[in-house]
Symmetry: C2
Subunit: 314 residues, 2 copies
């Protein structure tokens, strides 16, 4: 199988046309028309076999997740996704059917969120990996960064926390494993919250760690009421007998939920747009003057993290 | 060393600000203002240790080349470069000084060509690798694709061919090794040729193979006069005693020169802009009706490729 056969095999299923795509895959570079009156938002992320996925992931899971984690970053910024470029690295002798499956998973995620695959590259490497660059657009005034939160802002988080971390365990409930393998980026919610949030990010490294990033960038502190954390039924079942049942929700990674700071007068509107797109948006605390994140457990005691959060190099 | 330390170490030297950069590295995604009245051009490419570079490359060479090969793709499309996003993968225990060196090489290339590093990612993997996405801009009418060449167009190639392939050999002359390790993307020439070329690409997989791509995309054939291929003095010295002295110029990869098809009435203007940016632009043949690439050797015999060209998976 030559390089060109493999590129074709891998990209065959993906949507190649879409908004602004003037010239897609197949030339030296894609030619793209940026949407008028908007700014672009761009991010890059990689998934590597043995680091971000293992044999429990189907090939389709791998392809889906590689794009989904990038779309989550765009959603956190309040941008709607437009285009993706994907670099595939594959060991010699990898089963072409597996690579085609990875391509199908990527394509399914692209179709689900209206993304065109506009660039690809393939190379040999020791590990199977996908490195995806995603580009989206937003009105300049509706972009949500990490800086911008002010004391008094409420903190709201989408969906439920901790499921993906529990989904890593062998024998995890299917609902939890699915959150790990097929994360659903909050694309519609992110775009809807763009004009309403004062700051935000996606919870990829664990709530406490990511909230710490938001606080540092905003020059503020935060208080979280752990009793208010949104937990799924599967999460509650899986952690009912644990000594620290909230650990995964507070410090587990890969939730890909949105965490936003919202001025009190806009909280009603934020919860309304969330209801409209069908995603729960739960108040869990607030921004305070000072620095650092303080988490109060249901007992009233203060939470001390066992670890700081997810480190992609550990 | 944590993930955050490493990102800082790797990106410290790189220019982070530039045209259109509203929010750079450090948030979930970069926020970029596309230039008014232009289209965007985007491409992705990876360099992997053991595949694209080895121990003879300094860390700075690796970083330079990872960005340079992408800028060459933008130049081939007639675009000026604006922004790059870089995903670094590194084995556990890699020397941080080596990673800092790779970052400095990337930064040097970015500064040399006015590129801002707007996104980064770092992950563990078995091989050291860099995957770079580069984005540029051009007037819509000045974008150069592979399709668009017509019979009668002259074929012109920049610089000299075959040096980089010869530079792979142990004991290669420094001038040749440098072409392999520090390719100079034809950024200024590419942008200047944009309004003049009917089709073009960069010669990365070998002249004959890349010209074949251009011919297929354009629905035409081509004739090349091998006696006219531009060769460096170092190339002539290194191949003087070879039985097939033109093989590397015809089929060697990684030249990162521009190959353009130009209507006869525009050839004078094309050579003028090349002279203005200080790069040789040599006529080597022409586009003809039909299909396929025919190369006539100085002897008058027709060249038969020993191999089709560079395949990144071989």
């Amino acid at each position: 199988m030559t390089e060109f056969d493999l590129i074709d095999l891998f990209t065959r299923a993906a949507p190649r046309r879409g908004e602004g795509v003037l010239l897609g895959i197949g030339d030296d570079a894609a030619v793209l028309a940026p949407p008028r009156g908007e700014v672009l938002v761009a991010t890059v992320d990689a998934v590597v076999e043995g680091v971000h996925f293992d044999a429990r992931f189907t090939p389709e899971d791998v392809g889906w997740k590689a794009l989904a984690v990038n779309l989550s970053d765009l959603a956190a910024m309040g941008a709607r996704p437009l285009w993706a470029l994907c670099a595939l690295a594959t060991p010699r002798g990898e089963d072409p059917r597996r690579l085609a499956g990875v391509g199908r998973g990527l394509a399914a995620c692209a179709r689900a969120f209206g993304v065109a695959l506009v660039g690809g590259n393939v190379t040999r490497a020791s590990d199977l990996s996908l490195t995806v660059t995603a580009v989206g657009a937003a009105r300049a005034g509706a972009v949500v960064g990490r800086a911008g939160a002010r004391p008094g802002d409420l903190l709201l988080v989408s969906g439920t926390l901790g499921d993906a971390a529990l989904g890593l365990a062998r024998g995890a409930a299917p609902a939890l494993a699915r959150r790990q393998r097929r994360p659903a980026p909050r694309v519609a919610l992110g775009a809807a919250l763009g004009p309403l949030a004062s700051a935000g990010l996606d919870v990829s490294d664990g709530l406490v760690q990511d909230l710490g990033h938001l606080c540092r960038a905003s020059g503020a502190g935060a208080i979280v009421r752990a009793a208010d954390l949104p937990l799924s039924a599967a999460y509650r079942r899986a952690t009912a007998r644990r000594r620290e049942p909230l650990e995964a929700a507070l410090a587990g990674g890969e939730d890909y939920e949105l965490l936003v700071a919202v001025r009190p007068r806009r909280v009603g509107a934020a919860r309304e747009v969330a209801a409209k797109v069908g995603v729960a948006l739960t108040p869990i605390g607030e921004i305070v003057a000072g620095s650092g994140v303080r988490v109060f457990l249901p007992s009233g005691a203060e939470y001390r993290p066992r670890r700081a959060g997810h480190d992609h190099l550990r």
